[in-house]
């Protein structure tokens, strides 16, 4: 779960990381009030879960509260990078002298948190030259002791006064990361303002979905569309894609493999839907119904029955199809335990059943393209 900038900054501030003065606004009037509270020039920043907001026109500056209201009027309700702007963050405009990047992510290979820092902040971390990036993994059993901060600011080449603040902020940012079960937390840019103070000008905090159950204190930010949410609630993984052939398989790897096979034969998958190893027939039926609502031109089901028995899978598919009442062709590839019985049941109920992934994929591609040409 990604938190909006203003929420991330609230978490930062609670951990003692300096953030700009300001507040969030849902209406132009609120934006004006926030600007008045701040006093002086402000930044009005669109709150959407996307990077590069500045370049896309989502951040503007205002010298007066009235200008802030106008800026909010222009932004609120419009779309930025495909996302609707529902809130703006109104903050003091900072007199920036230097921009730093500071982040904590997960290093898969080391199986540890990874501190990433650069004295060249402000741009996307991917665009910073490798030699300007300092990386250091952290042993979770030890954490970020002060010496880690001293060493990192030394490598960044920061002067003593700025370095002390950055080292302190780093230790706090690591605590934000750990205490909130974060996958990633970033301050980019962490700015040094005129006078030498260091302030988090932006903030990112992505929380591990698997750990949300123990973070009831965090506001829930919904990133899924209506359909994604409905399918996710069934306990299955779903990603919408651009094509026209709906796909269901049981297991993330086999589902990816099915999509790859489909594309190899010229098909265009409408989605990734991993019904998992342990998904029950009711959930599978519900997932199929939901996918049918998206209007696919054909359906490809690819099941490897291991513990699950193929005859039971076959019955569940027939039920699901009957319940939906839709006229979409189903192509089913079914192998594993009780395979022959499963195939018999499917064929008796007029559904195409294959043992080979290749054949099933070719068949569904052919069906989808004939329906497409029939429709045109």
């Amino acid at each position: 779960m990604k938190l909006y900038e203003y929420l991330a900054k609230e978490v930062f501030a609670r951990r003692g990381i300096p953030v700009p003065r300001g507040g969030v606004a849902s209406t132009p009037e609120e934006a004006e009030a926030r600007a008045r509270e701040v006093g002086g020039p402000v930044a009005v920043k669109s709150q959407v879960l996307a990077g590069g907001r500045g370049k896309a026109g989502g951040i503007t500056f205002a010298d007066t509260p009235a200008q802030a209201r106008e800026a909010a009027e222009r932004l609120l309700g419009t779309e930025l990078k495909g996302l609707t702007i529902e809130k703006v963050l109104v903050e003091e405009k900072l007199a920036i002298r230097h921009e730093i990047y500071l982040g904590v992510a997960i290093d898969r290979s080391a199986r540890r948190p990874l501190i990433i820092a650069s004295a060249k902040g402000g741009i996307n971390i991917e665009e910073i030259p490798e030699e300007d990036i300092v990386r250091r993994t952290v042993d979770v059993a030890v954490g970020v002791e002060p010496f880690v901060g001293r060493e990192i600011v030394r490598r960044l080449g920061l002067d003593q006064a700025v370095g002390k603040q950055v080292a302190d902020i780093l230790a706090r940012l690591y605590k934000v990361f750990r205490a909130n079960d974060a996958e990633l937390t970033e301050i980019n840019p962490l700015v040094v303002v005129e006078g030498g103070r260091v302030i988090a000008a932006d903030g990112r905090l992505n929380v591990d979905d698997e750990a949300l159950y123990r973070h009831k204190e965090l506001p829930y930010v919904e990133e899924r569309t209506g359909l994604e949410k409905k399918i996710h609630d069934l306990g299955v993984s779903y990603v919408a894609l651009e094509g026209d052939i709906a796909v269901i398989a049981n297991g993330a790897g086999i589902t990816m493999g099915t999509l790859d096979t489909l594309m190899y034969y010229g098909g265009r998958p409408a989605n990734f839907l991993d019904a998992g190893g342990g998904t029950g027939s009711d959930e599978m039926a519900a997932a199929i119904s939901l996918l049918l609502e998206t209007g696919p031109s054909a359906f490809l089901v690819n099941i490897f029955g291991g513990i699950t028995r193929c005859d039971e899978v076959a019955k569940a598919l027939i039920q699901a199809r009957q319940a939906s009442g839709a006229d979409v062709p189903f192509v089913i590839r079914l192998v594993g335990t009780n395979e022959a019985e499963g195939h018999r049941i499917l064929r008796e109920n007029g559904m195409e059943a294959f043992r080979s992934m290749a054949e099933a994929a070719q068949k569904v591609v052919a069906l989808a393209s004939s329906r497409a040409s029939a429709a045109s």
Binding site: I106, D181, A211, G251, A252, G253
Partner: protein
């Protein structure tokens, strides 16, 4: 021989009284695995498929000769269960549980590293040495004994490939499920190191997927140190960046871990890469024939 689990493995099942724990204990016993004990707090004295149940791993260890654990407890309690197994001195811990918070996984790996424990998973189908010991949820009937080692990030796709190898007369040594999460106890390189020293293993099949850089690291290892033929299949060619494909691990993030970079690295290391899953047995035969 085989790796990690074999005829000397004597396992405790943590979470043995739960739905999955109980069912798969039956399956593991049917495979022939030595399941010597189960653990379920408050259930001491019960038995599941004839396996005696204890309150804690230490209690199980006092009463039974065990050296390995396989964990089926729910995600919120899995870190604790795994730490219990590690602290009790078990040398291998197989964590089947999925949806474990990634910070729990990091804490767990930190302890395991310190104690020298091998962790398989989490979010894995488990591990199976054909003919001797299966710990996990992979189906029993797909295996046959032979010289092909498998190491994979995802489950069903691997069953598919194992079944195709068996159908083609290519038996297996050990099949290792790394698990689909971002933080896991094993990775390709760690498993390849073991296959390197295993006389039974003649060739290795790697089942990778997009996300992370474990396949690229494996390619580097294969190029410089590995001494047996490797065939790979990488899933996720068609996956769009930034979208999580089921596994927490299967996501292309910040330009890292693309299908293209993995395939190129593996090919550069002399590894045959299958374009479609069912091409694997043929490529293995070709590699072995060289």
């Amino acid at each position: 021989m085989a790796i990690i689990v074999d005829e000397s493995t004597r396992a405790v099942v943590q979470g043995i009284t739960g739905h999955h724990g109980s069912f798969h204990t039956g399956q593991m016993l049917a495979f022939g695995s030595a399941i010597a004990a189960g653990v379920a707090p408050g259930r001491a004295g019960q038995s599941v498929h004839g396996v005696p149940v204890y309150d804690t791993v230490e209690a199980a260890r006092e009463a039974q000769d065990i050296n390995t654990s396989v964990i089926f407890v729910p995600a919120a309690f899995a870190k604790d269960a795994a730490m219990e197994a590690i602290s009790a001195g078990l040398k291998t811990v197989v964590v089947i549980t999925e949806h474990i918070p990634v910070h729990d996984a990091m804490e767990l790996m930190s302890l395991a590293e310190r104690e020298g424990t091998t962790v398989v998973g989490p979010n894995t189908f488990g591990i199976c040495s054909a003919g001797t010991c299966k710990l996990g949820i992979v189906p029993n009937q797909i295996f046959s004994v032979g010289g092909i080692g498998l190491v994979a990030r995802s489950g069903t796709l691997t069953y598919e490939i194992v079944a195709s190898l068996t159908a083609d007369g290519l038996g297996q040594s050990t099949c290792v499920g790394l698990g689909g999460d971002r933080v896991a106890g094993l990775d390709f390189v760690r498993v390849l190191r073991r296959f390197k020293d295993d006389p039974q293993t003649e060739a290795v099949v790697m089942v990778g997927e997009i996300g992370g850089t474990a396949e690229e690291e494996a390619a580097e290892y294969i190029k410089t140190e590995f001494n047996k033929p490797v065939v790979a299949y990488i899933a996720g060619k068609s996956a769009p960046p930034g979208k999580r494909m089921g596994h927490a691990g299967a996501i292309i993030e910040r330009g890292r871990g693309t299908f293209q970079s993995k395939v190129e690295a593996l090919k550069a290391a002399g590894t045959a890469v299958a374009e479609l899953p069912w091409e694997v047995p043929g490529l293995v035969r070709s590699a072995l024939a060289v």
